[in-house]
């Protein structure tokens, strides 16, 4: 892989080092606390992976997918159904493959749909999968729920999620610098142009939707031991889909690391809301969602970029004045 390594810029190497240090620092958290803060950090790690995986697809294409809960639930069920008979890593792999295959099928069927039709279809899909699982369990098995007993502690799950986060970031970086990533940026700009420069737009979108859905499936698989008791409403909880979208949009979808800036504040906020307003959680989340869309249409990252641009403009004005011999303090 020398050609790849040879083309890494200093800046990219710097970001990689900073990322690795941050990840290592985050990984030490269970040494200090295994209660509230670990639990909160686990939620943050989970949504970081979910939102980043979601952004891999939705960032460049601008397709809003509400199918996250479907992929997540499939991952969870892959583990829950097989935990008695098969090793955990194999079950995670099954969860990844099953989610990716579902994403592929959905992609082939729906990516020709645009805008709101795609959103509605993905929302319906999550519900459909949930109903099918419930139906299958009530008709073919003894109960609706499944027990998942493992030796994993919250710390283990947390570490697995951090490792997965690293994999997702590296994947995202590799995709961005590949032809596929370039193709998706063109598609996001103008799909007609994309087709006429020779891009198989349907294939490109399906490929990325599969990668994105597969990762979300792995998160669901990792989280199964935490649920301990898995049933369709918890594994296919539509709130997961909505929160992923809200957090990713709050952070911004233009950069790979942008969702991080939405996940951390929102997870902490959501934790506070559900602790202090247990009966009004949905209402407050709804208000938060609308605020994000109205106030930060390009997310926190967009805000940062706007501020930078204003600063630059200010600096240009300042230097012009200086060049004219004016005192900038005037």
């Amino acid at each position: 892989m020398t050609p790849l390594l040879a083309t890494i810029t200093r800046r990219e190497a710097g970001i990689a080092v900073i990322g690795a240090v941050m990840l290592a620092a985050a990984a030490t958290l269970p040494l200090f606390d295994t209660g509230f803060y670990l639990s909160l950090a686990l939620n943050i790690a989970m949504y970081v992976v979910l939102c980043t995986a979601w952004t891999l697809f939705s960032g460049p294409t601008h397709y809003i997918s509400l199918a996250s809960a479907a992929f997540f639930g499939i991952g969870t069920y892959s583990v829950a159904l097989g935990i008695e008979t098969l090793p955990f890593p194999l079950l995670v792999t099954i969860g990844f493959v099953a989610s990716a295959v579902l994403a592929g099928l959905v992609g082939i069927a729906t990516l020709r749909l645009s805008g709101v039709y795609f959103v509605i279809f993905t929302l319906g899909l999550a519900e459909l999968v949930r109903q099918v699982v419930t139906w299958a369990q009530t008709n073919f098995t003894r109960g609706v729920g499944l027990y998942v007993f493992t030796d994993f502690t919250e710390a283990h799950i947390y570490w697995m999620l951090l490792g997965l986060a690293a994999v997702v970031y590296v994947t995202g970086w590799l995709v961005n610098r590949s032809r596929l990533g370039f193709a998706l940026r063109i598609i996001g700009n103008d799909e007609t142009v994309a087709r006429h420069v020779g891009i198989n737009t349907a294939m490109a979108k399906v490929a990325l939707f599969m990668i994105s859905g597969g990762f979300i499936g792995i998160v669901g698989a990792f989280l199964a031991p935490r649920f301990a008791y898995v049933e369709p409403p918890s594994a296919f909880n539509p709130m997961i889909s909505f929160q992923v979208v809200i957090m990713a949009l709050l952070g911004g979808t233009g950069r790979l690391w942008a969702p991080l800036l939405g996940v951390i504040p929102f997870t902490i906020l959501f934790d506070q809301i559900s602790a202090n307003f247990p009966n009004h959680t949905s209402l407050v989340i709804g208000i938060a969602f609308m605020s994000v869309v109205y106030l930060l249409p390009r997310g926190v990252v967009g805000l940062i970029e706007d501020m930078r641009r204003m600063k630059r403009k200010f600096r240009i004005v300042w230097t012009d004045d200086a060049a004219l011999g004016k005192d900038p303090a005037e």
Partner: protein, 244 residues
Amino acid sequence: MNAAPILRIEGARKVFGGLVAVNDVSFDVREGELVGLIGPNGSGKTTMLNLVSGALKPTAGTIGLAGARISGRPAHEIARQGVARTFQLVRILPSMTALENVMAGAVFGHMRTWGDDARHVAAALLERVGLAGRGDAMTGSMTYIDQKRLELARALASNPRLLLLDEWLAGLNPSELKLGIDLINEMRNDGRTIIMVEHVMDAIRSLCDRCVVMSSGVKIAEGDVADVLARPEVVSAYLGDDDA
């Protein structure tokens, strides 16, 4: 010029509901030829171009590129076969730099380069169309003529066997028009095969080897430019009949 036809259109037909936009049109384009496709507004010229580029699928008839049938294939496959185009309303990629806009044409199409190769191709073409050194410019804030230049560079980036220009000269002021005509003339001198849909008659007269005239979806004339433009049926298609 007796070169073999690179593009052969046989009985191409496109129907939108009850409207026949292109009505059994046939013509050939030989390698290295610059063919003008002209006719009054609404005569089906752009639809004809869309059939060739794959933006639309013909209702009937066949279109072949260098002997291989391309009609009915998706646009991205036709692009890979070597057909590139510009659009009637200029289409740039606003969130990407000028260099990236041109690279888009060099990566996925008839020519498949990547990395530094694609960058070199794109930089050379930017210079070619008069945008040297503007590679990092954000394209959304470029002037209209520069956006048109950029779009042309993107189309050329795939080194197409056939280039389709859809009113590429429309909307340019007189000095820009002269630059534009010179640019197309240079491409013709390079041996590029081009079909241009155009309303600017000066450009048609000075550039085209041959022209095809359409009216109400039907091909009404084809041949040498001066000769064709003098024919009564062409004059009446543009100006109406005397006795009407």
